[in-house]
């Protein structure tokens, strides 16, 4: 006879027992499976590092650390160095960031503080969509549209003004080169930085801003002294994200850099970046040493972007702690 309050008879109890036994295996299995999937993420990253080192080993062995400051890129003599590529990479990135960051901040400011809500919603969505446009489109546009404009109009015009005497604007106006590549890079990272900066500015509590206005501050003063300071860590995060993108962006630069292996000072000069050299020469490289040197270039880029990422994370954590766990 069943005890009162226990409705389940023997068949029901069996069912419950079976379910419990089933759970004993199913749940740990589920947990183990998802944990394994999580581990795969970390393992893949480690595998990537290992593969890059192993495959660039012939080059590392032959050129040593000198690879990093050798200017050579001679496929016939078999001498390779990373300096010209590093130079071009940083040159174009600096141009892009100098142009894009102030513009992105200004647009973000407009979206959050100045524009009427309906406009800000439309423009904000447009910017988010533009961030999704693939880089090949920007590269194509830069190569077929911007390059002729730069070489026929913009660059000769700059050289005709007093600026033409500066070393920054020397050389034939070919349209290809650091300036054009940097410009297109700037356009590419612009939507990206803008979107993040806007989210950061938007997160500043209304009360804090109103306190600023209540003290008689102008819009600009509130933005500079309240919003930007409040969201500083986020802005720096946006900056580093944009920087990482600009450093590693391939197609726009591969189209526009000119692919020469030297270190010209002029903005109109041509050069190469790590990404452009990989994109333009990797598939054609038949010599195994050249291929190994190219993979080492990839390794260098991997380390650089990795270091920037890590720095950004550490900086953000410190900033967050200093602000008392806020933001």
């Amino acid at each position: 006879m069943n005890a009162p309050g226990v409705p389940a008879g023997p068949p029901g109890a069996m069912k419950v027992l079976r379910r419990i036994r089933h759970r004993r295996y199913a749940d740990p299995a589920f947990r183990a499976f998802t944990t394994a999937c999580g581990m795969v993420v970390a393992l893949l990253m480690a595998a990537m590092f290992a593969v890059l080192i192993i495959d660039s080993w012939p080059s590392i062995k032959k050129f040593g650390v000198g690879f990093l400051w050798s200017k050579a890129w001679d496929t016939t003599a078999g001498h390779y160095g990373a300096v010209t590529a590093l130079y071009g990479t940083f040159y174009t990135t600096v141009i892009a960031m100098v142009l894009a960051v102030p513009l992105a901040l200004v647009i973000a400011l407009l979206l959050v503080e100045l524009a009427p809500p309906w406009l800000s919603r439309i423009v904000g969505t447009a910017i988010e969509l533009l961030a999704a446009v693939p880089s090949i489109v920007f590269g194509l546009w830069g190569f077929l549209v911007l390059v002729p404009i730069m070489s026929n109009h913009v660059e000769p015009w700059i050289q005709s003004t007093f600026l033409g005497k500066l070393w920054l604007f020397q050389g034939p106006p070919m349209g290809l080169g650091f300036l054009t590549a940097g410009l297109v890079l700037a356009l590419m990272v612009l939507p990206f930085i803008t979107a993040v900066a806007r989210d950061v500015l938007r997160m500043v509590p209304q009360v804090v801003k109103e306190a600023g206005y209540g003290m008689g501050s102008t819009t600009w003063e509130v933005t500079r002294k309240v919003s930007l300071r409040y969201g500083l860590s986020g802005i720096v995060g946006a900056f580093f994200l944009g920087l990482g993108r600009a450093l590693g962006e391939t197609m726009a630069v591969a189209f526009l850099i000119g692919q020469t292996y030297d270190m010209q000072k002029s903005l109109f000069g041509t050069g190469n970046t790590i990404t452009s050299t990989l994109a333009n020469t990797f598939a054609e490289a038949t010599d195994s040493l050249q291929r190994s040197a190219l993979i080492e270039l990839g390794l260098v880029l991997f380390v650089i972007t990795g270091v920037f990422q890590l720095l950004a994370h550490l900086w953000l954590r410190r900033a967050r702690r200093r602000m008392g766990g806020r933001a």
């Binding site: 759970r23 199913a26 749940d27 998802t34 944990t35 999937c37 999580g38 581990m39 795969v40 993420v41 970390a42 893949l44 990253m45 595998a47 990537m48 890059l52 192993i54 102030p102 647009i107 400011l109 100045l114 969505t125 447009a126 910017i127 533009l130 999704a132 446009v133 693939p134 880089s135 090949i136 489109v137 590269g139 194509l140 546009w141 077929l144 549209v145 356009l187 612009l190 939507p191 979107a195 102008t218 819009t219 600009w220 003063e221 990482g244 590693g248 391939t250 197609m251 591969a254 990989l278 994109a279 990797f282 598939a283 993979i295 990839g298 880029l301 991997f302 972007t305 920037f308 990422q309």
Partner: protein, 288 residues
């Protein structure tokens, strides 16, 4: 607090100057971006016709032709990449959100995923080359798809984790209190609650990666011809839209260059179209 006193006029003027600069800057930036889209549409629209979707590229100097193999190739590569990357990222997200949480392992994996998202896509291409192309001794669409999957993985894992974290804990607790096993509570209740966000995240990750070029340059390489069945895609250089655009644009023949514009237009329409439709369907514009 401020030792320096500035005149009211000067502060007002600064404010107005900044506002003007903001409006002008925003107009310039947005116009430039809009102009790019306009140019692509204007130059690309002429290339779009029936044969654009069905034929192979013409010989240099020839006429007609299209990007048929490249379009199909990109679809196949992207779908295979999604099959590899999305489930893996999804279950990794379940681990991070449901089991790992703030533990040391989960924190480490999260950091790795963040750094992974910052790895330039061309470096991922080099990795796939070293791992798959070198060992198989030939370029293949499979290597390209693997590279794309690698890029999708951390994006999917982190977005999906954010979505799962939005699900209130009470839902988990009530599912478990009803006697549901953990896996059922997670997949049947938590994931169902986060369905819209998970779908949006997944679709947007796939679309973004589908427009990538750099990881395919020396993995899938390219080809002008139709592939014979799935085996063809995995057994040798595989046609794809982005690399084909890159190659065609360097050609001196205006007809081929126009095909490149057509390809760019197709990519833009596809990427933006899916973005807009996804947003409208799920009304969650915040992830990107």
């Amino acid at each position: 607090m401020t030792p320096k006193r500035r005149s009211v006029t000067r502060r007002r003027v600064t404010d107005i100057v900044v506002k003007v600069v903001a409006w002008v800057g925003a107009t310039v930036g947005i116009t430039a971006l809009a102009l790019i889209l306009y140019v692509v549409v204007r130059r690309g629209i002429g290339a779009i016709n029936w044969s654009f979707f069905t034929q192979t590229p013409p010989t240099p100097g020839g006429s007609g032709g299209g990007l048929g193999p490249a379009i199909v190739g990109t679809l196949v590569i992207t779908c295979v990449a999604a099959l590899m990357g999305i489930p893996l990222g999804f279950f990794a997200a379940i681990y991070l959100a449901e089991f790992g949480r703030d533990g040391r392992v989960a924190t480490a994996i999260r950091l790795v995923a963040n750094v992974m998202m910052g790895v330039p896509s061309i470096v991922v291409g080099v990795f796939a080359y070293g791992l798959l192309v070198m060992s198989q001794h030939h370029y293949s669409g499979l290597a390209g798809a693997a590279a794309l999957a690698f890029i999708m993985l951390p994006v999917m894992a982190r977005t999906a984790e954010d979505m799962l974290n939005l699900v209130p804990n009470e839902l988990r607790e009530s599912a478990l209190a009803l006697g549901a096993p953990r896996w059922k509570a997670t997949l049947g209740v938590v994931c169902r609650a986060a369905k819209a966000g998970l779908l949006t995240g997944g679709i947007l990750a796939v679309v973004r990666v589908g427009g990538e070029t750099a990881p395919l340059l020396f993995t899938a390489l390219s080809s002008q011809y139709w592939m014979g069945g799935l085996k063809g895609y995995f057994g040798g250089p595989t046609p794809n839209l982005t690399k084909t655009i890159f190659d065609l644009s360097q050609q001196p023949y205006s007809h081929l260059v126009q095909l490149a514009w057509g390809g760019a237009l197709l990519i833009i329409v596809a990427v933006l179209g899916v973005n807009v439709v996804t947003r409208l369907l799920f009304q969650r514009g915040k992830e990107w």
